[in-house]
C-alpha cells in the first residue's frame, strides 16, 4: 500500500505543477563563474542499495526512473544530459518534453536503446527493474531516501557520480540553511497544533515511518495519526472527529483530486472540527511533499507555514514592490496557485 500511495501522490499534483514552472530558477543554484576543477574520474560511490558503483568517465547520457530524480539532475544544472526521464517527470517544465521510459514499470528495452551511461533508480525498482538493468552491464544508482537529510545525501551522491560535486555541495548547503532557518523559527512556536494530513478523502493519511510524518513532527506539529501502526493508514472518521485536528492539510487537489477547503468544510459531520471552525484547511501541492528531491524543502516550509502561520506571517510582496529575488518569486507563485 505504501508504495502505491507514494506513487499516486508523486503524480497527483502534476497539473498544479505547470503553474509553478518558474520555481526551477528558485531551486537551481546560481551558476558558479569559476568552474571548479572536475574531480578525477573514475569515481566510486555506494548507493542506497548498498551497491558499490564505479563510474569510469563523467556521465553524459543520463536516465532517471522517478520524477524526484529528474528534479535532482536539473537542480545540479545538467538537465541537458538527460536522454530520457521517468513518466510524470514534469518539473522543471522542460523535463516534460523529454522522452519517457515508464515509472514503476519501466520499459527496459527503451532504456537500453537510449544507451545511457548512468541510470538513477529508486527503491521501488529494487525487485523488478534494477537487477535487469545491472545484469545488462548498465550503471544504476538507487536513491531511496527515508528523511530530508537523506535527500541531501542523495543530492551529494548524484553530484559526485556526475562530476557536479561543487554544485551539489552549494545546493545542499543552501537547502540545509533553509531547513535550519525554518526549524529555528518553529522552535519559537508557542503551540504544537494537532494536524490531520489527508492524502485523499477516504481518509488515508500518514503515520510513523513516512516521510511526511517526519516533516510534520520537525515542523512543530502533532500528527493525529501519530499512533498508527503503519506509514499510510486509513483513519476512522470517528477518531478523526474525536482527535479534533487544529489544522487539516489537503493534498488531493487539482482538477482530478478536486478537494478544496470548501469541499472539506461541506462534508457531513466535519463542522465540529477545530480546523474547520477556525478556517485552517490548507492545500499543499503534493509534489512538494512527496518527491524526495530539492523541492522537499519547499514542502517542509509549506507544512511549517500551515502549522505556524503566525511565525511566517509577513505580507506577501505586491507586484509593485516585489523584489526580483527568487524567494519572493517563489512565495508569489505559491500564493497565486494556492489562494
Amino acid at each position: 500500500m505504501g508504495s502505491r500511495l507514494t506513487r499516486r501522490q508523486l503524480i497527483r499534483g502534476a497539473i498544479t505543477l505547470a503553474a509553478l514552472g518558474p520555481l526551477a530558477a528558485a531551486c537551481a543554484p546560481a551558476p558558479q563563474p569559476p568552474s571548479p576543477p572536475a574531480p578525477a574520474f573514475p569515481v566510486t560511490v555506494t548507493d542506497d542499495d548498498g551497491q558499490t558503483v564505479t563510474i569510469e568517465r563523467e556521465p553524459q547520457r543520463l536516465i532517471t526512473l522517478a520524477p524526484s530524480n529528474t528534479e535532482i539532475v536539473y537542480a545540479l544544472g545538467i538537465g541537458d544530459r538527460l536522454v530520457a526521464v521517468s513518466d510524470y517527470s514534469d518539473y522543471p517544465p522542460e523535463a516534460a518534453a523529454k522522452p519517457k521510459v515508464g515509472y514503476i514499470r519501466v520499459d527496459i528495452e527503451r532504456v537500453i536503446a537510449y544507451n545511457p551511461d548512468l541510470i538513477l533508480a529508486t527503491g521501488a525498482h529494487r525487485q523488478q527493474v534494477t537487477p535487469q538493468l545491472r545484469q545488462r552491464g548498465l550503471k544504476v544508482i538507487t536513491l531511496d531516501p527515508k528523511n530530508i537529510d537523506h535527500v541531501f545525501d542523495n543530492i551529494l551522491l548524484v553530484g559526485r557520480a556526475t562530476g557536479q560535486t561543487a554544485t551539489a555541495e552549494k545546493l545542499v548547503a543552501d537547502l540545509k540553511a533553509r531547513v535550519r532557518q525554518i526549524e529555528t523559527k518553529v522552535r519559537q512556536a508557542k503551540t504544537r497544533p494537532r494536524v490531520f494530513f489527508e492524502l485523499d478523502k477516504s481518509l488515508f493519511t500518514v503515520g510513523p515511518g513516512s516521510f511526511i510524518h517526519d516533516m510534520i513532527v520537525r515542523a512543530g506539529g502533532e500528527n493525529i495519526a501519530g499512533d498508527a501502526d503503519r506509514p499510510y493508514p486509513q483513519l476512522s472518521l470517528e477518531v478523526l472527529l474525536q482527535r479534533d485536528p487544529e489544522v487539516i492539510i489537503i493534498t488531493d487537489i487539482g482538477p482530478y483530486g478536486g478537494e478544496t477547503p470548501e469541499s472539506v468544510r461541506a462534508r457531513p459531520g466535519w463542522q465540529t472540527i477545530s480546523a474547520v471552525k477556525n478556517n485552517r484547511i490548507v492545500p499543499i501541492n503534493p509534489d512538494l511533499v512527496n518527491r524526495p528531491g530539492p523541492r522537499i524543502v519547499d514542502g517542509f516550509e509549506a507544512i511549517a507555514r500551515a502549522l505556524h502561520p503566525e511565525l511566517f506571517s509577513f505580507r506577501l510582496p505586491t507586484p509593485i514592490d516585489r523584489p526580483a529575488g527568487t524567494y519572493a518569486r517563489l512565495t508569489q507563485q505559491l500564493s497565486e496557485v494556492f489562494n
Binding site: R8, D200, A225, R243
Partner: protein
Amino acid sequence: MTAGVHGRQPLTARRRRVIPGTLILAGLVLTVGLLAVSFGPVRIPVPTVWAIILNRFVPGLIEADWPPTLATIVLDVRLPRVILAGLVGSALAAAGATYQGLFRNPLADPYILGVASGAALGASVAIVALPSTALLPVSPVPALAFTGAVLAVAAVYLLGRVDHRLPTTTLILAGVAVGSFLSALNTYVMILGGNRIVQIIAWLLGGFTGANWFQVTLMLPYLLAGLLVLIAFGYRLNVLQLEDEEARQLGVDVDRLRLLLAVSGALITAAAVAVSGIIGFVGLVVPHLVRLVFGPNYRTLLPLTALAGAGFMVLADLAARTLLSPVEVPVGVVTAFVGGPFFLFLLQRRKREVF
C-alpha cells in the same frame, strides 16, 4: 447439485424450528445492531451514546451534557454507517440466495451476472475520467457504478437469452464472459488512470468508511423494492429447483420468473455495490449458513437470509472499525476472514445431515 439444496430431512421437521429460530435470529441481529452503535473506535460511554440518540428523536428529553463532537460521531458517523452496512449486507445476502436458487448452483453469488465488474468499470471511469466532487453537486462514482452494473446485467440477459427462453447454463456462461470482458476493460482503465489507481483499488476493496445518511437514502428505495419482489416471488424458487419442464408442467412461467428474480437481485446488488464497493463472501456464505440452520425452503430462506446478512455485515464492519483502531481494516478482509472458516466449520458439523 440439487442435493445440496434439498435436505433429506422432512420439511415439517425444519418448519418446527423455523419460528423460534427466526425469533432468535432477529434478536441476535438486533443485539448486533445495538452493539455496533454502542461501540466504535472512539470510546463513548454506552449510556451517553443512547442518550444522544434519544435526544435526537425526543429533543429536550435528556439534558445534553456531552460535547457536540460526540453527538456528531454518534449521529452522523456511527448510526448511518451501521444502517448502511445492514442494508448492504441484507441486499448481498438476499441476492446471493436468489442466484443460488435460480442457477441451482451453490457457488453462485450476487456478482454472478456481471454486476461487480460492470459496477467496477463504471466506478473506474468515473474516478479516472470525470472531474471530482468539488465540481459536481454529487459524486459521480455511485451513479456510474450503478449504471455500469445495470448495463452489464442487461448485456448478460441479451446474450444469455435463447429464443425467448432463459436457460441457466447460457445465462451463467454469458455472466462469466461479460464479467471477464468488463474486468479486462477495467484493468485497462486502471492503467490509463495512472495516478488514480489507488482510489480505484480502495473502491474495489469496498467498505463503509465514508458512510453517511445520503448514501442510506440513495440505497434504501432500491433495496426495499428489490427485496419486496424477492420475498413475494422467491418462494417459487422452490419450483425452479425442479427441471424446467417439470416446473412448466406445474404452471410456472419459468423464463419470466427467472427474469424477474434475476433483475431484482441485480438491482439490489447494484445499489449495494454503488454505495459500498465490492464486498465479497457475504452473498456467498450467509445464504448457506441460513440454509444449514433453517433448511432450503425459499419461502423462509429469503427473508431470513436478508436478516442474517444485515447482522453479519454490521458485525463485520464493527470488527473492521474497532480491531486495529484508530486504523480501519477493509471490511471485505473481515468478511472473508470470519465468513470462510465459520462456513467450513458449519459445513463440517452438519455435512452428514444435509448432504
